[in-house]
Amino acid sequence: MLTKSTLTGVWPDVPTPLNSSLLIDHHKFESHIRTLFFKGVSGVILFGHLGEGASFSVQEKSDALIHLIKAGVAPSSIIISATCASAIDTIQLINLASKLQIHGCLIAPPFYYKDVSERGLADYFDFVFKDFENSHLNIYLHLLPDPHYVNLSDAVIYNIFEKHKSVFSGIVNETETNYRSGDLIKSFGERTQIFSASELDITLLKATGTISRIANLIPRTIQKLLIQPEAAGKVFIPGMKEKKPDDRIVEFLSIIENSPKISAYKILLSLLYKDKDWSNFRPPYSEISLAAEQKIQKLYNAFKLDSNNE
């Protein structure tokens, strides 16, 4: 039996702010994370898919992590994505996470190579965890969107979990495939916890915790859905319809529909914080077209975000 995860509450997958030199802006990173904790999130995911994790070196990630902890962010409320193109970099990040006693790491197979065999994937996890002894660091198997990342079949996941029973605390599904979370519950729900980065999966998973991109802007709405899934039930007031948390999530998703996600979230944060520098991107990501940006801005204004309550 695997150790159950202690991931509870809302954990935003945080974008990484950059200064004009396209280096990590530690102060902006800190103030965004402070604001999220003020709004009640339980923890943050750093350098994940939305956090442009593949664009930063181990040293940059390490410096940011240390800055945040020194600034007062509790290590137990930090998860870092340790997915790297090099297995050695992944091991370095796991060791750093263990040393700093953060909550855990997300691990996906290395990206870039696409023609890897199932044997190769199994060997990769054997290599990464061959000297892993830390019992308090939570390791989550991270499933990322195909075709950007290597797709892990259920058979491969089963083999990885069988060989490394004591390592994993759960599976985080960020594949952006609608049925994947349901399939994972059927295949692995009895042996480990399944988390989804899709907010619309919250009621399906009946989870106590969730990883969320939307929570960067409306964390309390995600929290309400997590704590009171029955809020998704019908609540009508004569003459008007009360907005339910999942209505707001659908409305929010329509703002970023058809836009590159990293760019869209950074533009939204630049609007929320009235700070154009939030939309700095490290190449190969770049600014989206002015027309697309104006469309996001128009939809965001119409959304009328209530930052005190959402």
Partner: protein, 66 residues
């Protein structure tokens, strides 16, 4: 996370302003929108200055268009 000695940028009375935690908690929450939290007064003021300069640039641009 401790917020006792932190600072905020808020929208209050149609103005964007910097406010200390103890003053924020004294406000009626229906009268403002909290924008962002900062660990120090200096950081909050630096962010506020950027917002003011950005608003000024936008106002200038609108004037130029007229």
């Amino acid at each position: 996370m401790n917020f006792e000695n932190t600072w905020y940028i808020i929208d209050h009375n149609k103005q964007t302003t910097v406010i200390a935690h103890k003053d924020l908690v004294a406000l009626d929450s229906s009268t403002y929108q909290m924008i962002e939290n900062f660990g120090s007064h200096q950081e909050a003021l630096a962010a506020m200055t950027k917002i003011a300069l950005s608003d000024l640039a936008k106002a200038n641009q609108r004037l130029d268009e007229i």
